[in-house]
């Protein structure tokens, strides 16, 4: 027996995007947040570097410059009207966060402090600009905490540790979601006029990943099963500096302070790949360069990693070689990069002040996701048909502001700007719409999937399937891709999907059956992996994070467009044009 709840608006996911939406929606309509984690556990809390907004607190800046940098970073695939909204509204959103109590670091005169970040420039001088607002190196943590605090203040209703397993969409109308209460194992049906999906990324389809264990793409997979498409799934960002074998992220800030990549010959190899920006080239470029070194046999010990050097003497040596008068010492590094240095000490047991740090690119951020319009309304196809009552924002959504490659700090901007926009739009919509009836057996489809897993007497362990999936994704749907590799990957994913039908789990109980939920999440990852590989196979060009060795060049003639992929029955791709604006595509050099 399912339990029923009714709300004007529900938000699935309690990360930055979800909480921002909930906060704004709850100001005028009855709103609930459903999250499979306690809100403060959301992965937004892991974000370190900062949130960009052209406040101009320390030096001149304009939101138009921010917009241009974003478009260039996206390799011109971003929709420029969406980027304009992002960068213009970022300013108010950041001020809004400050008013909510976010403890930003301060300038000497008491304003929000800002710092430089990769790819953010003064368009006139072409020099890096101080645009990233930050709270030490815990900006995401503070955003998440602040938004949660405000939700408590405003008595937003939370359903913590409720995992959504199905979205009630039929004929392009959404009536709510179906969720499992993890503590009891009971099914709950949430009926709502407006439903927002803000469930974050899905980087757990790769083995080396900066993403949390919980980022398994449950909701995008649920939408696929309900016949809705996903957009730009081939664009997945690999961050160059993950801790070797673990994937834990070491922020770009390290290289901002002078850290460099070194191969087994002791060379600073980025000089060859990006002569101007060198180690501070964009993320896609650095990740590719690292793997090119590995392929050339220049990985450390012949393995698939290189060193990130932040030993002061090494950093200073390269400052000198570059004619840069700056010098650093151990104390300075400790002060500027406390968390990162701590991560290296705790997880690698080495001291980055005296030893080089083994790093490798790590799966980090999904540029693609659920297609939406500028008001975060979910789109059912490439023509722009709207799914009534369904919204999406945050990393899970694709408006698209990040195009083929996201700029550092822009995800947090995306969360608050489009989260807020979505919340406001949902409330407006919910005020004039009426609650649509849901079928008595609405929960059956989701429940059936779960009980099929629970009762399956099969032979396969979900964990071995997951390992196989992650290994093949690392190999063939990673930084480098080829047509043959992707075709092979799709075949192997399909084989895994077959094996998935033969899984068994140990836990047959109801309460906190994490065995069951993990197995279900694996099913979601398999579906998303298939769509990702298929989208990548369909795009026969290289752009941003998507690099095809067999098509190494950008092809604006044929591919200045977004992919939209369905997976009902078979896989199907359609395309829609990029919305250009002020900035015409040019070659992207760093």
């Amino acid at each position: 027996m399912a339990q029923y709840h009714q709300f004007d608006a529900i938000v699935v996911g309690a990360g930055g995007a979800g909480l921002m939406a909930a906060l704004y929606a709850s100001r005028s309509v009855n709103t609930a947040v459903i999250s499979k984690l306690y809100p403060t556990r959301s992965h937004t809390g892991a974000a370190q570097g900062g949130i960009s907004a052209a406040l101009g607190n320390l030096e001149p800046d304009k939101w138009e410059w921010h917009a241009y940098d974003t478009v260039k970073g996206s390799d011109f695939l971003a929709d420029q009207d969406a980027v304009d909204i992002l960068c213009r509204e970022a300013i108010d959103a950041v001020i809004d966060l400050e008013h909510m109590g976010l403890p930003f670091d301060r300038t000497p005169d008491g304003k929000i402090s800002q710092r430089r970040f990769g790819g953010h420039t003064n368009n006139e001088t072409k020099k890096p600009v101080m645009r990233a607002c930050h709270a030490a190196d815990r900006t995401g943590h503070m955003i998440l905490q602040t938004l949660y605090q405000q939700c408590i203040k405003n008595n937003v209703k939370f359903f913590d540790e409720f995992q959504v397993i199905d979205v009630l969409v039929e004929n392009n109308v959404c009536n709510g979601v179906v969720a499992v209460c993890l503590a009891t194992g009971e099914t709950h049906v949430f009926q709502a006029k407006a439903t927002m999906i803000a469930t974050g990324g899905f980087g757990k389809m790769w083995r080396i990943s900066s993403n949390a264990h919980s980022l398994t793409g449950d909701l995008p997979a649920a939408l696929l099963r309900r016949g809705l498409p996903l957009q730009d799934m081939e664009f997945y960002q690999f961050h160059p500096t993950g801790i070797y074998k673990m994937g834990i992220l070491l922020s770009e800030a390290a290289r901002g302070e002078g850290a460099v990549f070194i191969n087994n010959k002791g060379e600073r190899f980025m000089e060859r790949y990006a002569p101007t920006m060198k180690d501070l080239a964009s993320r896609d470029v650095c990740s590719r360069s690292i793997y090119q070194e590995v392929r050339a046999g220049n990985g450390i010990d012949g393995k698939d990693y290189v060193y990130l050097e932040f030993r002061p003497e090494v950093v200073n040596r390269y400052f000198q070689a570059d004619g840069n008068p700056r010098r650093v010492d151990a104390a300075y590094m400790e002060k500027r990069l406390p968390d990162i240095i701590d991560f290296v000490r705790v997880y690698m047991g080495i001291d980055p002040i005296t030893q080089p740090v083994p790093i490798q690119p790590t799966a980090h951020y999904a540029m693609g996701g659920i297609p939406t319009d500028l008001d975060t309304r979910v789109l059912a196809d490439e023509k722009g048909t709207i799914v009534e009552g369904l919204y999406a924002a945050g990393e899970v959504a694709c408006v698209s502001v990040h195009g083929a490659n996201r700029l550092g700090t822009n995800s947090l901007v995306d969360l608050v700007v489009y989260g807020k926009r979505g919340g406001i739009r949902m409330a407006e919509y919910a005020k004039q719409a009426s609650l649509r009836p849901v079928k008595q057996d609405a929960h059956k489809m989701g429940e059936a999937v779960l009980s099929a897993i629970r009762d399956n007497p099969g032979r396969e362990r979900p964990s071995s399937l997951r390992r196989d999936l992650q290994t093949l994704m690392d190999q063939d749907v990673g930084v480098f891709r080829t047509g043959a590799g992707l075709e092979d990957a799709i075949d192997r994913i399909k084989a895994l999907q077959e094996r998935y039908k033969d899984i068994h789990i140990d836990d047959k109980g109801l309460q906190f059956n994490t065995d069951l939920m993990e197995a279900w999440e694996l099913g979601c990852l398999l579906d998303l992996a298939e769509v990702t590989a298929f989208s990548a196979l369909s795009r026969t060009e290289s752009r941003g994070a998507h690099y095809r060795e067999d098509f190494p060049n950008r092809d604006d003639q044929n591919f200045l467009k977004h992919s939209v992929v369905w997976k009902n029955g078979g896989l199907r791709v359609a395309y829609k044009p990029v919305r250009l604006g002020r900035y015409a595509p040019t070659e992207r050099k760093y």
């Binding site: 000497p108 005169d109 008491g110």
Partner: protein, 150 residues
Amino acid sequence: MTTMNPSAPRPARPIPQGRNRFERAMWLFMRFSGLALLFLALSHFGFQHIIVGTHQLTSEDTIVRWGLAGESITLAQLFWRLYYGVMVLLAMLHGLNGLRQVAYDYLKNKVVYNVFMAAAAALILAATALGVIALIVGVNASGAAEALAR
């Protein structure tokens, strides 16, 4: 708040006292009585047990320090009576409140807690009363002669 001068040192902001002043008072009392006891109890202990030594203790010492009941007392005896009086009062109240804190931790049943604390408070206050009476009255003279004779 926007008009503040951010570089000016921040003045201490006064906070109105809350409704529950008892726990605050007790917290302060524990610390100040503790500080007093640090000197009183340790000096008493050191005097009796180290300088004099338990095995040298006799009731003469008691008489010398307290004075006899019904007789006028010297300044020194007044000092000792006050010294012991303050110490007994502080130690007993300090101990009683300490016991209350411990009991609050472990006796979660309200009735049990109340009964226990009532009994403990009765015992401790009775003992304190006895001690204070003894200090006011002084040593009972009857039998004092034999004691002095020995």
